[in-house]
Subunit: 243 residues, 3 copies
């Protein structure tokens, strides 16, 4: 299976063209769009989101990951193997947290070259063909060469106390794993202090709370309302933990 993690959107041409390339190069491999609205051009929140959601997929999955504000510039194009999953995309921090949390990981620089490579759409022209070849079982050595480390030391924390994603319901995911925040802790977001609840129906209508979402991230929600609107949250909003 190939899973897409991008900031391309679904309605416009980008995801469709990428899927067309995958379909032509790996016709028997199913493709699912995991996120088409990852944080636009922001690898820092995106890496925490990716690390939480990629772990849900079984080993052998190829994750095509494109949040790539530096496309066409100098940033490297890489393949990461981490805990049996393969990641294809830009080296701009997007894979930092996946690699840091993996029991084992390896890094390659992509050497495969497409025919035409437009400077603004490496997702379609470079990363998708490489992902398709990997999903077909093509040997990674024919596509990339071993590399030592990611290009920079970004010093990002193990968990990010910020909002990293606002979902369709207005729920605000943080970059904090639920395992590091005790249920008795309160979260302070935009001046509001929030208690833990296990489910939406456990709090009064309209009330905001925090819980651990279905992929293990601490998430701020409101019962029957949009937490992002009620609490004025956006990607990048800082969160404090009060134990």
């Amino acid at each position: 299976m190939i899973a897409l993690f991008t900031d391309f959107g679904l309605a416009g041409p980008y995801t469709g063209q990428v899927v067309a390339v995958l379909q032509q190069n790996a016709p028997n491999v199913p493709v699912v769009s995991l996120f088409a609205d990852a944080p636009t051009a922001r690898p820092k929140p995106a890496t925490y989101l990716l690390a939480a959601y990629a772990a849900w997929f079984s080993a052998g999955t190829v994750l095509l990951c494109v949040v790539d504000p530096g496309v066409g510039g100098e940033r490297r194009a890489v393949v990461v193997e981490a805990d049996g999953r393969l990641y294809v995309g830009p080296d701009n921090g997007l894979f930092d947290i996946v690699m840091r949390r993996a029991a084992g990981s390896r890094l390659w620089d992509i050497t495969w070259q497409p025919g035409p490579l437009t400077p603004s759409f490496h997702g379609r022209d470079l990363f998708a063909p490489v992902a398709a070849r990997l999903a077909n079982g093509g040997p990674i050595e024919s596509l990339a060469k071993p590399a030592g480390d990611l290009s920079a030391s970004r010093n990002w924390p193990d968990d990010l106390a910020e909002i990293v994603y606002i979902d369709h319901y207005g729920n605000a995911m943080t970059g904090l794993r639920g395992t590091i925040v005790p249920p008795e802790a309160r979260l302070v977001a935009a001046g509001h202090s929030l208690a833990f609840a296990r489910t939406f129906s456990a709090v009064p209508a309209g009330a905001a709370f925090w819980y651990v979402n279905s992929n293990g991230l601490v998430e701020i929600a409101a019962n029957g309302a949009r937490a992002d609107a009620v609490l004025q949250l956006a990607i990048g909003s800082e969160i404090a933990i009060e134990v």
Copy 2:
């Protein structure tokens, strides 16, 4: 075929994870997303929308239906067979109108249990695996046990004189079937009195009207404009019929 009727949105992780589960459990069954923007957390308008659109699918279709504000609480998880189609989802009113209109219907309580079941995402962890097994032809008796009735008598009307959905163009669907409203009737919505027209091009540019949409629901539209903006309509807006 499996058809999805949810309030999950498409761009974020929910639909993608559900599709991944379906793909893994029923790899040869095509999946289509019918609605990913069903009325958020509102089973009442959703049941009228579902009843109108499900009828378009052929017998044998499995409809995975998740508009589920009570997820993680006490509401039952059910399978409905109605007119040869199978529906999987929560017992919160979402299937009331489908069952009421069916020539024949049966109800089961889901007994199948997943490995991990997160309290906030039964769509992925419970309903999708059951839907996939049914679509594979798995016997329903291995997944669910016969049940008598839906859990509550909600006393919802046979047709709902409210807006139940605003589409991509700003057209406002009602919960009224076209068969019960004569063409000479006027609809009153947000203080505007609207006449029937057969097609958009039959009225002047900018004019609002009502017609019977391609799935049999009475719908309010405007030629070359968004009816929801022109008339200030939202899901839940009440409609009066003047004959």
Copy 3:
């Protein structure tokens, strides 16, 4: 492969129903959504967008194209063959630029008739079944009859100096091909004069510029910002070229 070019949106019922029809009639043909947010009900900008993006697909692709404000009225339903690709949709200008630019093209009027044909959804009831049959290799003569010309002479220019699409990032595509605008030219949009840059990372953060996008259209963008918001651009905004 069947590629969809529509203004249907993805989340609501329209694309899903069309995909269901394609799946039932051409189960082995992959379907990709190229645009589900083509300019709503506006064939003029849409034809420049379609011509640029359709050219990216290989010969043999069937493009199902529905931007159809006159649905249910008198406009013809056609099949176009242009440079080895097949296009199915309404004759309202949507195919004008594709045909004008093709080395060779042919036109047919659709004669195939569905069972039920709702007046508001020819995409599902008429165009999708025809597209599926063509994708299956069905002879076009069984579906349509040769026609002379498109129904009207619309006198649209070879390239359109207007915004024809705003993408997910806020980038504004024009109807101008990059091959006709020299890199030293400046574009004037909504009172702003913009220089060429090759990539986003070549200009300062927040700065607006123009470039040639991955499908050959002149596009206005801003580094790390939404060009549509910064420059107040919308579909139809006029562009001037200063050489």
